[in-house]
């Protein structure tokens, strides 16, 4: 079933590339494939034994034996949620792209589906080299999606994005090779832990750039601004989660010693990113800038949770990954919808969009309110768990986190008021309609997921680590994980 999750979008992509479909049939095929993917995931969720934990739906085939590399996939409880996030957000983004109409349709949808497969692959790969292959494979469609369908500054943005990411990835490749050959296997479920700081840094560099963590976020503003909105949604919503997933699955599990030694510097970077990102988001002149920098801040927060390395922090981190994925995807899609109506995202030129556009106002308001973590929202639950977790590492971290939540309220409220309220901006005309049914069809499911999670955040936070993340993990040095 895990393999099906990878092959289904890949197969659909090949069909779309190979057959001379017109734009409607190519688009609808893509949407159907993405929805089918969601269906498969729901099946998987329904059959997943959360009480048993461990690796489930595993598939294993030899790839090449002499270096002990295999095609090994499977899901843990927490990866189920990340896969779910991926398929849901991808479905929404593909549907939005279909509605918005992208030229060179077949190439576009094929690439989106390919990206879908690659991201799912990252979350289910249980072999280091396979993980690396999927991690890299994500970059191939992203490069083209941003570079071809992006805004005017797309070429520079893609170049920066690719060079940054590949610099990290290649360090990771070196680390993968050294680590795997030292241990004699590349299988993540059986590979032992390592105490090498260098290897840890190799992995951490790749993930820190992909996330991104301060000060490695140089590619972020351009890439998020220049991509088509749905690609930006994918980038910040799920691709960045591949990085924090990497921290969670590889960095802290396989390198307990270095995690312990280097925790303080990483937490410091995360804290700086958290505050700095929030401040930048507060000052950003445009809609996407706010969401982009808030993304930087949120990734810092999630890193807090991961590197707290205790059950509260990790549960919170997984919950917050899903939350932030849904929130930032929704916000980027909404930003795209606003830009479609006003041709600009500059906050000074838009405003007063709420008047006569109740659906848009409701969607943006709901998402924004959840994003600023008001009590009873799922983001509140996630951030609370993270802060509680990191509090155990030192009250100072929690204090920084709490400040950042205040800052989040500031930039989110500024965003909401600048778009929806105030006087009508010069770029807002009466011709700018409310959200169309199709647009609602894309955003409502995402917001509904957020509301459902707000009602029951424990669905994720209580069902992520039923047992140890892996049988030979390094958890014991941090105290055993608590079963829910």
């Amino acid at each position: 079933m895990t393999t099906l999750l990878i092959c289904l979008p890949l197969g659909a992509a090949l069909v779309i590339w190979a057959l001379p479909l017109n734009r409607v049939s190519a688009g609808s095929l893509a949407v159907l494939a993405a929805l089918a993917e969601v269906g498969v995931w729901i099946q998987m969720l329904a059959r997943f034994h959360f009480s048993r934990g461990g690796l489930q739906f595993a598939g294993h085939r030899n790839w090449f034996r002499d270096l002990h590399v295999s095609y090994h996939v499977g899901v843990y409880a927490f990866s189920v949620w990340l896969v779910g996030l991926t398929v849901v957000v991808m479905a929404a983004c593909i549907a939005y792209a279909f509605w918005a109409g992208r030229d060179r349709t077949r190439a576009y949808f094929g690439l989106m589906l390919f990206l879908d497969a690659a991201i799912v692959g990252v979350f289910v790969a249980q072999d280091l080299l396979l993980f690396y292959a999927f991690f890299e494979a994500m970059l191939i469609p992203l490069y083209v999606l941003v570079g071809v369908w992006g805004g005017p500054g797309r070429i520079a943005a893609t170049l920066k994005f690719v060079i940054y990411t590949m610099a990290g990835s290649l360090l990771m490749l070196a680390a993968v090779i050294v680590y795997g050959l030292q241990k004699g296997t590349f299988d993540l479920t059986t590979i032992g832990t390592s105490g090498s700081n260098w290897l840890f840094l190799g992995f951490a560099a790749a993930f820190a750039i992909k996330a991104p963590l301060f000060p490695l976020h140089g590619w972020l503003p351009d890439a998020y601004r220049e991509s088509p909105p749905e690609v930006a949604a994918v980038l910040s919503g799920i691709v960045s989660k591949a990085a924090t997933y990497g921290f969670l699955r590889i960095a802290i599990v396989k390198f307990p010693g270095p995690t312990h030694d280097l925790r303080t510097p990483i937490l410091v970077l995360a804290a700086i990113g958290l505050v700095y990102g929030s401040l930048l988001a507060f000052r950003a002149p445009d809609l996407r800038g706010v969401v982009a920098y808030s993304s930087l801040a949120q990734m810092g927060l999630i890193t807090f949770g991961v590197f707290a390395v205790n059950d509260l922090g990790l549960n919170g981190a997984v919950l917050q990954m899903v939350n932030h994925g849904l929130i930032s995807a929704t916000l980027f899609l909404l930003a795209g919808m606003v830009e479609r109506r006003t041709t600009t995202g500059e906050l000074t030129r838009i405003g007063g969009l709420a008047r006569g556009r109740p659906a848009l106002a409701t969607m943006l308001m709901t998402t924004g309110i959840i994003a600023l973590a008001v009590p009873l929202s799922s983001a509140f639950a996630g951030e609370f768990l993270i802060l509680a977790g990191v509090f155990r590492r030192g009250w100072g971290w929690a204090a920084v986190g709490a400040v950042a939540i205040v800052l989040a309220a500031m930039y989110m409220l500024r965003l909401i008021s600048a778009v929806l309220h105030r006087e009508t901006g010069p770029s807002v005309t009466d011709a700018a309609l409310d959200l169309r049914p199709a647009e609602l069809g894309v955003t409502v499911p995402l917001v509904a997921c957020l509301l459902a999670l707000s009602a029951w955040p424990a669905a994720i936070s209580g069902h992520s680590f039923a047992h140890h993340i892996s049988t030979r993990s390094g958890w014991t040095s941090y105290g055993p994980m608590k079963s829910p």
């Binding site: 970059l139 170049l159 610099a167």
Partner: protein, 488 residues
Amino acid sequence: MIHRPHVDWFALAPVNALLAVAGLALLTAVLVPRPARRTTAAALCALGYAVAFGFAVALYARSAHGHGVVANAFRRDRFAELAQMIVAGAGLLATGISLRERMRDDHVGEYYALLAAAGAGMAFFVGANNLMTLFLSLEWLSLSLYILCAIDRDLLGGLEAGLKYLIVGGFGSAVLLFGSALVYGESGHLDLAGIASANRPHDALLLFGLAMIISGLGFKSSSAPFHMWTPDVYEGAPTPVTAFMAAATKTVALVVMLRVLRTAFPQEAHLWTVAVAVIAVASLTIGNLAALVQQNVKRMLAYSSISHAGFMLIAIAANSALGGRALLYYLVPYAAMSLGSFAVVAARERELGVPVTFDNLAGFGWERPVLGVAMWTFMLGFAGFPLTGGFIGKFYVFSAAYKHGYTWLVIVGVVATLVSLYYYLGVVRAMFMRRTEDLQLAPIGGSPPRDSLLQSAVVVCLAVTVGSFFVVQPMIDLARHAANALAF
């Protein structure tokens, strides 16, 4: 009276098949009427390569225990057969790419004859088991290639390319010959195993000879600092010839380098591993840095081939069975990617009638999607992205280097890969991300020439490039048996 050795004709079958078609293709120049000459000669050449490939496969299957044949002048082992398969495959594809090359009709017979002859030389070169046959077959393949570079008299730069290649290549051959003479003079043996058994490990002349042999083979594999001819020749030669040289010549030069070093100089391994590693670093550095600033795509690919020589030399420097496997594995997707990318360049060249630069590649990906996607894949493969054999190849090479203790070489390779991204992705950028309308192109008019052979050759290369990512185990098994013939 001279003792006449027993000749194992089967072992020489791939070579002889190619030589035979070379002769026949030459005859077409006089016997076949002009309109049919091109297709006849090309068909013969293709047939020769196909038969040679078949023989190589059969030989591979029946040469589990490698041994010397023809008075030990030639070695029949799986190492040679695998290299012959790559050469024959490359030659077959190069024939397909050549067919619609814009070239006058008056030398087509000679063109295909030389293409087959060069392949025959290569097929012999990879099995050469003493210094004499080594040099002879090197000259055999080089002479054919010198002429092939210059054969198209209408091609601007073709003659220059041929001349440059002749002079620099001749110098390289001379260095190799001098080195061989020194080694022979010191060890008293011509055959490779004999040199090893002479066992004079720290003799200055022998080491000098060894260094010269490495340099001579370095010229042929276009590794820095012996690469000076490469960009000019690759740029000036007819593109199908360039494709063949990039894929096949490099393959045989590297394969032979591994064989010679491994068989003849095992006692000096501690020296030549370092020397080869240094050459690898030089190639990676020079190839990548110079490629960054190229505007002409063929020149860029030439520098990229220099940097790939560097990657594959890392595998040789590892001096292990894993390194041998890495080299032989890497050569397959590398040959496919080189042939494929030069074929795409050839297609664009035929469309525009001018040398292909990054500028006039604009919009090509959308105009000819199959070629565009193929080129994209080749570039990703060169850059070592997953879903291509280039990724696994790099992984193997780095693994071999790490296992040998060359962690620093892994780091150099990783940095080189990062630098290379700029220009490989530059091709993708040029093909897909710029609009044709932005540029002043001067197409020669009409729709692009129909060229189904070239297109199929590109598709085959694409299939090999992508397929080698998925079917790694069978290919590694092939490579392992081949590398084991060298007694690691």
